[in-house]
């Protein structure tokens, strides 16, 4: 199976009652305060989610034991209006430096006190190679526990 199936990007829009610059700041430098606790690839409780404020900056999580896990990196850094992050977690929920899916976030000032936030997570199909690896692991002898483990890791994630 080498054909590529394009998957529609995930698109979300939300309006927040805050100035554009504030919305950008909370989204990036204060990610720790809002990033859902249900999502982490750390093996321990996270204490911080960091987006380094520059192009090429790391996007990573730090655990309470100071262990670190990368999620991706900063591709575009244009405060206060635009941010593109590389989400480099594959279908097996593992960081893969060779995988780049993009999360673009646009901050649009509707009024001085209100900002529309548009998010697009695209190139999800690039996770396909990993997903295919999962599928072939299932098809191989003894592969059953491997997929269960990866699903479990994702669900516990």
């Amino acid at each position: 199976m080498t054909r590529t199936i394009a998957i529609a990007p995930v698109r979300k829009t939300i309006t927040v009652e805050a100035p554009q610059a504030r919305a950008f700041e909370v989204f990036t430098t204060q990610m720790t305060r809002w990033w859902p606790a249900t999502h982490t690839i750390l093996k321990v409780t996270p204490r911080a989610h960091i987006v380094e404020p520059r192009v090429g900056g790391r996007w990573y999580s730090v655990g309470i034991d100071d262990s670190e896990c990368d999620t991706g990196k900063v591709l575009v850094w244009e405060p206060p209006s635009r941010l593109v992050l590389a989400w480099q977690l594959g279908a097996e929920w593992q960081y893969d430096p060779n995988l780049i899916t993009e999360v673009e976030v646009r901050f649009i000032a509707e009024t001085p006190a209100r900002t529309r936030v548009e998010l697009e997570h695209r190139h999800i199909e690039r996770m396909g190679e990993k997903a295919e690896a999962v599928a072939s692991a299932v098809s191989s002898p003894g592969g059953w526990s491997a997929i269960l483990e990866s699903f479990k890791a994702a669900a516990n994630g």
């Binding site: 199976m1 199936i5 998957i7 529609a8 995930v10 979300k12 939300i14 927040v16 009652e17 805050a18 504030r22 919305a23 909370v26 989204f27 204060q30 305060r33 809002w34 990033w35 859902p36 249900t38 999502h39 279908a91 006190a113 936030v117 998010l119 997570h121 999800i124 199909e125 996770m127 396909g128 997903a131 295919e132 999962v134 599928a135 299932v138 098809s139 059953w144 269960l148 699903f151 479990k152 994702a154 669900a155 994630g157």
Partner: protein, 107 residues
């Protein structure tokens, strides 16, 4: 979350056997039922659950449906991401507005 659905779907031993039977290749309901000590309607029901969890896909072949392991599993992944970003942006909004209301002393 789709991944939780996948785990839950596979927690059932009969569904696991059906899923494993599909490792040998695509098969219609009847052939799967013949291999397993499970009625055909029960196999259909299990396949429906596996499909909803994004683990198998099906396609029409004349009057019957042929099931196979979803080779990409991306539909499931996309659903998970879709839900994830809903949750994340809701949490983001709550945090931003909490800060704003503190600053402006409003609720």
């Amino acid at each position: 979350m789709a991944y939780q659905n996948a785990l839950a779907a596979l927690a059932d031993p009969t569904r696991r056997r059906i899923f494993e039977a599909l490792r040998a290749g695509p098969a219609p309901v009847g052939r799967l039922a013949a291999k397993l000590p499970v009625s055909r309607p029960a196999v259909s029901q299990h396949l429906k659950t596996l499909k909803e969890a994004g683990l198998v896909a099906d396609e029409a072949d004349g009057t019957r449906r042929v099931y196979r392991i979803d080779p990409k599993g991306l539909a499931s992944l996309r659903r998970w991401l879709d839900q994830f970003w809903d949750d994340a942006l809701d949490a983001f909004k709550a945090e931003v507005e909490k800060e704003q209301s503190k600053g402006k002393n409003r609720t």
